[in-house]
Amino acid sequence: MEILKIAGALVTLVGSLFLFLGAVGIVRMPDLYNRMQAGTKATTLGTILTLLGVGIYHPAWLGRMLLLVIFVAITNPISSHALARAAHFAGLKLTKGSVCDTLADDEEGDDA
């Protein structure tokens, strides 16, 4: 019983560590797209681990937490995709050192 509680707390701690890393990444990255990269991955894993930790801590809630994990895994990438897409259409340029922007090139080709 006691070991389950410690394990759950540890998993939750690791999850919050990843969430913190995501926050640092959002501050340090140069443009929106790179920020979304750091933000999405870190928050997804961080939230999943936090929920799993709660599920291990309270074994009765494990089913609920697994459902929430699935929900987060579906919605989080969709929302970051929608944000990145909207930013691109709003005309947000990539950061200076970027190599290529195939989407913008193709868009111009469509308009011409």
């Binding site: 929900f71 579906i74 919605t75 969709i78 995709h81 929608a82 897409r85 259409f89």
Partner: protein, 232 residues
């Protein structure tokens, strides 16, 4: 500038007045008065573990009826204010909206039924766990909002919306009046058998009334989103 200093002085005066009344308050160690009465009677009388639900739906049910009507009036006024000038700027909308991406559309198709069912779950379990008609209605309205975002051309069918809205309102009042006739008072929930604690079908009419409130709040909030969000 002088205006701001004056405003600041007045605000600080009222804040000090408020804080001097409040700062010394001791947290009571025990619940007393009306609240304690409701907490004591809620399970025995109405079989509703969630006391807040019992207060909202039964003990103070007539207030809730009034609040729901205020909500209806606000929704109607908004659609009156924004809906009428529709046809005039047909050309203004020439800047056509970009259709949502396939990923968002498919995602919405998957998620909308789940979110809807979650809203229904919240308002059906209002008497057992935290939740109820208002929260469930908000969740249902947010599912409609997701449909709006995924399908920019999406329009609510106002006929169905109005029918559902008025039907649930009428049913609410009918149940309230039936309580007056068949049980001991207006909106008395002991119209139906109280049932076994912890099941959805228990606590008399509470789940029924909260479902009606949930439908009403959901349709009204969806209507507000529709009239504010659609660019007509």
């Amino acid at each position: 500038m002088i205006k701001r200093v004056l405003i600041l002085a007045v605000l600080v005066f009222f804040l000090i007045l408020f804080l001097s009344r409040v700062a010394g308050i001791d947290t009571p160690a025990q619940l007393t008065g009306v609240g304690a009465g409701y907490v004591d009677r809620s399970v025995g009388e109405l079989n509703s573990p969630n006391v807040v639900t019992a207060v909202v739906v039964t003990y103070r049910g007539i207030d809730t009826l009034g609040e729901v009507s205020v909500l209806f009036l606000a929704a109607a006024a908004i659609s009156l204010l924004l809906g009428s000038t529709g046809k005039k700027n047909g050309k203004g909308g020439a800047k056509e909206k970009r259709s949502a991406s396939e990923i968002l559309t498919t995602g919405a198709d998957i998620l909308v039924p789940v979110i809807m069912l979650f809203g229904v779950y919240i308002f059906l379990n209002g008497h057992l766990s935290p939740g109820g008609g208002f929260q469930g209605g908000a969740v249902v309205a947010s599912a409609v909002l997701l449909l709006f975002l995924a399908y920019p051309g999406f329009r609510l069918r106002h006929g169905i919306l109005a029918a559902l809205e008025s039907l649930s309102g009428t049913a609410y009042v009918v149940i309230a009046v039936l309580g007056l006739i068949l049980a001991s008072g207006f909106l008395d929930s002991r119209l139906l058998p109280l049932g076994e604690t912890g099941r959805i079908i228990s606590a008399g009419t509470i789940p029924l009334v909260y479902t009606l409130i949930g439908l009403k709040v959901g349709t009204e909030l969806a209507g507000i989103i529709d009239s504010l969000g659609g660019d007509r």
